[in-house]
Each structure stands twice: as C-alpha cells, then as structure tokens.
C-alpha cells in the first residue's frame, strides 16, 4: 500500500508509524531471497571478473540514473542537506533548536572535526554565508514545524549507517538512514525509516525510499514496516509500506546501478 499526501500532515511523526493494530507480522523470510536475487544478478553483470576495488552503491547512485545534473549535489546543496540533517538529529532527541544554522553548524563541526565541506563553509564570503544561513533556516523551520515530538519509547536513532557486502565483497551497498524508529525485536513489523531531503520529491526520492528498505532488510533480515521521505523544500511527505514487490523493485534498481557503474571505463 502506498500513501501519497500532497500536503504535509499536522505532524510528520504521527503519520510515520500509523495504527499499531494494523501492523503486519514481522517478515523474517524475504531477506535470503533478496540476497540471492542480487547475487545472481551481479554475477550476470560481472561474470567471473572481479573489480579491483569494490563497486560501491549508495542511494545517490540510484538518483543519478535519472538525473544528469542535480543541484543538491553542489557544495551549497550538500552543506544545506548536512545541516538540515543535523537539525533532524537534534530534534529527534528533544533538543530545542533556537538558531538552526548555528546549532547545526556547531553539531556538524563536533561530528566531523574538519573536512572539505567545512572548509567550504569557512571560506564563504559574508553574503554567500548569509544566503546559506537563510536557506538552511528556511528548510529547518519547515522541518521543525512539521516533524512534531518524537516519543523516546519509539527508540529513535538518527544517521543510522549500514553496509552490505555482496558477491564476496565485489559490491558494497552503503546507506545512511536519517531517522529510524521502532524495533526489530518485535513480532510485528514496527521499524519505520525516515529520510529528509532538501530537494523537491521526485522519482529519485522513490528510489531512495526503496533502497533504504532494501538495505535495512538485508542488514537485519527483518522487513521494515514503512519507508518515508519528507521534503523540506515543499513540505511534502511520501510514505510507502514495505512489501516484497517494493523490495524486488529496489533490487532491480540496484542491479541497474551496478551495471551502469561497471560499464563505465
């Protein structure tokens, strides 16, 4: 079942996990089949050859199949995405965010210490910095107004990393889920995956939602309940209940991305 809303709900969190009574039993049997589909598909692409270094697939690899240029991949777009994500991390643990840009920048500095993108921010001229600050603040306010309080009994985890090796390490699937709630130690499906993007939602966002569900399934061997994405550019939220069809579709998209990467010289 897919839920499509053209306006942001009162609170995003309310829409995230839905009704407790309607949650299906936890699917613990699909993961091995998906792994087989992926490994067989990779063998068809790579054959007996093994790449010198692993082919790394990320959610951005899937977006690039449909877009030749993506403004969100510019330094400005990447910094904005990172900072809005830091705001989400702070909100998920109940920290009040008074000055989104400064608070997010402080948190990001502490997290990564130094880096190319931090240098980019430090070297911005005052007008460019002010533009970035305004941009981040606008996106953050959309998020702050829409998200709502995340109950701590939902076990919120932010920036959850996952890595899956396939075909003996020839291919690596890497992923970071912005916010995850619910637990896998339950008889019913209760894990909801939540992604925040500063771009408008499009086909690439759907691929990303499916990819999160696929990697989470492979990592935990338990199919999550739902995968959602929220755009701070438009205030829209898309939500998909995870089922076998969605996971197979994502596996096919991953195989297409691998074939695309492998065919490049």
């Amino acid at each position: 079942m897919a839920t499509l809303t053209d306006s942001s709900p009162r609170f995003v969190v309310d829409a995230l996990r839905g009704e407790r009574q309607t949650r299906p039993p936890a699917d613990t049997t699909s993961a091995p089949g998906l792994r087989s589909v992926l490994e067989d598909g990779i063998f068809e692409v790579l054959g007996a050859e093994k790449p010198d270094s692993p082919l790394v697939i990320r959610s951005s690899s899937l977006r690039q199949l449909t877009q030749s240029t993506d403004i969100s991949l510019s330094p400005h777009g990447r910094v904005r995405g990172i900072l809005v994500n830091q705001v989400l991390r702070l909100l998920s643990v109940g920290t009040s965010v008074l000055s989104p840009f400064d608070d997010a920048l402080q948190a990001w500095r502490l997290e990564c210490g130094a880096g190319e993108l931090l240098e980019y921010v430090d070297q911005l001229a005052s007008d460019e910095r002010a533009r970035l600050e305004t941009d981040v603040t606008a996106h953050s306010i959309t998020l702050i107004r829409s998200l709502g309080p995340v109950p701590s009994r939902w076990l919120p985890r932010s920036a959850v990393r996952a890595t899956q090796q396939l075909c003996g390490g020839a291919v690596q699937l890497r992923d970071v889920i912005d916010l995850m709630v619910g637990t896998t130690a339950n008889d019913v499906a209760s894990v909801a995956l939540f992604d925040v993007t500063t771009s408008p939602l499009g086909e690439g966002s759907e691929r990303t939602m499916r990819y999160h569900a696929l990697v989470q399934t492979l990592r935990t061997s338990i199919v999550p309940l739902r995968t959602s994405t929220f755009s701070t550019a438009t205030g829209e939220m898309w939500s998909l209940d995870v089922d076998a069809e969605l996971l197979i579709r994502s596996a096919e998209e991953v195989l297409a991305a691998i074939a695309n990467q492998w065919s490049k010289p």
Partner: protein
C-alpha cells in the same frame, strides 16, 4: 585453533551461536600468567603500555592521539545508560542516556572531573553539541538493546570492560565487552562493534577473548566470544580453546614488539 565462525546477525543465528558454545571452558593457570608476564617484560617499554584488540587489529600502527568526540563517547554513555536501566527498569533508553549525561555534568560541576575526562569535555560542550552526543549515545544504547532483547537466555550488560595489568611489565591490557550471557558452568561474551569486520577481526576477537580470560579472577575463559557488527549485519565468533588463548596472547605480545619498533623508528 578453533575456526572463526561467520554468521548473519539475526536473532536465530545469534541464539544458535550462544547455544552451541562449548560447555567445558578452559582456564589459565598462574604458570600461564607468569609466562605471559615474562614475554612482555622481554619487550622494552619506555613508558606504560596500553594494548587492546584495536591496536592488535591495526598491528600497532600509529593512531591519532585520543580525543573525545560523539563517536568515542557514545559507548561509554550508552553502556552507562543501559546499566542504569538494569537497576531501574522503568527508565526509557532516552531518559537513561539523559540521566547519564546529567550525572557526568554534575561530576564536572562538583569539581571531581579531571581535565581531559569525559565529564570535563561534556561540561564544555554547547547545547547543540550535547544534543548530538545524546543522539549518538542513544543510537548505541538502542542498538545494544535490540541485540540483547533477541537473546533467549539470561543476559546482562557487562559491568565494565576487562582490564588486566601484566605483573612487572608496565603493560595494561583492555578487553572490550558489552553483553554477558551466563550459564551455570560457562559464559558467552558479546562485543558490539561499529562498521564492518576487516581481515584482522579474528585476531582482534582472540585478543579480547584472552584479555577477558586473564581478567577473570580464576582465569576461566568464556566458552565463546562473539563479535557483532550491526551496521554490517554480521556476527563472528571464536571458541576458547587453549590454542585460541595462546594465539590471542601471541598477537598481544607481537603488537607490543611492533609498537616498540615504531616508537624507536619515530625517535630516531
């Protein structure tokens, strides 16, 4: 030496690893301890040596000097929160993490914190920085809880890491442990790790196993030492045979030798 067992990290596989652990654990005697001490003494040390599984996995290659960060603080705070929940089960993970951080801040405010300690570092963090530190600690605590809740046998959060001072060798060994599954006659120890296991994960696990055994007052080895990598969804384990304990001890001594060589080269 026992084989390194590689499994997917699922509830069933983890329980199977725990249940199939050998039931007759081995133990180290005072002679073994004396022998290890003699080997460490034979490696010159200019200052006090600290070794753990990570230094073994890195073959003593130079690391950046330690500094507190949300990543380095998450295990300390997250494990502290889980120990709080063990004594006050009504606490949620979020509340426990928050209480743990508050306690650290109180320690700093009351003047008990040394410069460079976790309390001191937290006391100097801003509100957003504390928010990020809380988020990381919460991630850690939730991750360990999810793993623990899937275990069918009785488990407990490890009261602390395992430390062993090698007599008269100016060497401290530190073994990390997160969960202990205790049976009547034996125990299984679980360590939760970030990232994915590398090629040297086996030697790292054997080092942890050896340190855990040395730190036990009676020298009793855990029947099985399990390393879990939730990010990669993988579990690896080693059994405590005498050959595995010897291998772990050998790797620790070799790391001390490598560390000494690197220091000598850097000094030259």
């Amino acid at each position: 030496m026992s084989a390194l067992i590689h499994r997917r990290l699922t509830r069933n596989e983890l329980n199977a690893l725990i249940d199939s652990a050998p039931t007759t654990p081995v133990s180290l005697s005072d002679d073994h301890r004396r022998s290890l001490s003699a080997r460490f003494r034979a490696v010159p040390a200019s200052d006090h040596r600290r070794l753990d599984a990570w230094t073994v996995e890195r073959a003593a290659r130079a690391q950046r000097s330690f500094r507190w960060s949300p990543t380095t603080a998450r295990r300390v705070l997250g494990s502290g929160a889980l120990r709080r929940i063990a004594s006050s089960p009504a606490l949620s993970i979020g509340e426990a993490v928050s209480d743990e951080i508050t306690d650290q801040l109180l320690r700093a405010a009351s003047g008990y914190a040394r410069g460079g300690s976790l309390s001191y570092w937290l006391a100097n963090a801003s509100v957003p920085e504390l928010g990020l530190i809380t988020a990381e600690a919460l991630n850690w605590a939730t991750q360990v809880t999810e793993i623990a809740e899937g275990i069918e046998n009785d488990w407990r959060i490890a009261p602390s890491d395992a430390y062993y001072d090698v007599a008269t060798a100016r060497t401290t060994l530190r073994g990390r442990r997160d969960l202990v599954v205790a049976f009547d006659e034996h125990r299984v120890v679980i360590r939760v790790r970030a990232g994915s296991p590398g090629k040297s994960a086996g030697p790292g696990l054997r080092s942890d196993l050896t340190i855990e055994t040395l730190a036990h007052p009676g020298g009793l080895a855990p029947a099985r030492f399990i390393g879990v990598w939730p990010e990669a969804g993988v579990a690896l384990s080693v059994d405590a045979t005498m050959a595995d304990l010897r291998s772990g001890a050998r790797d620790l001594v070799r790391t001390a030798v490598a560390q000494q060589r690197i220091r000598a080269l850097m000094a030259a």
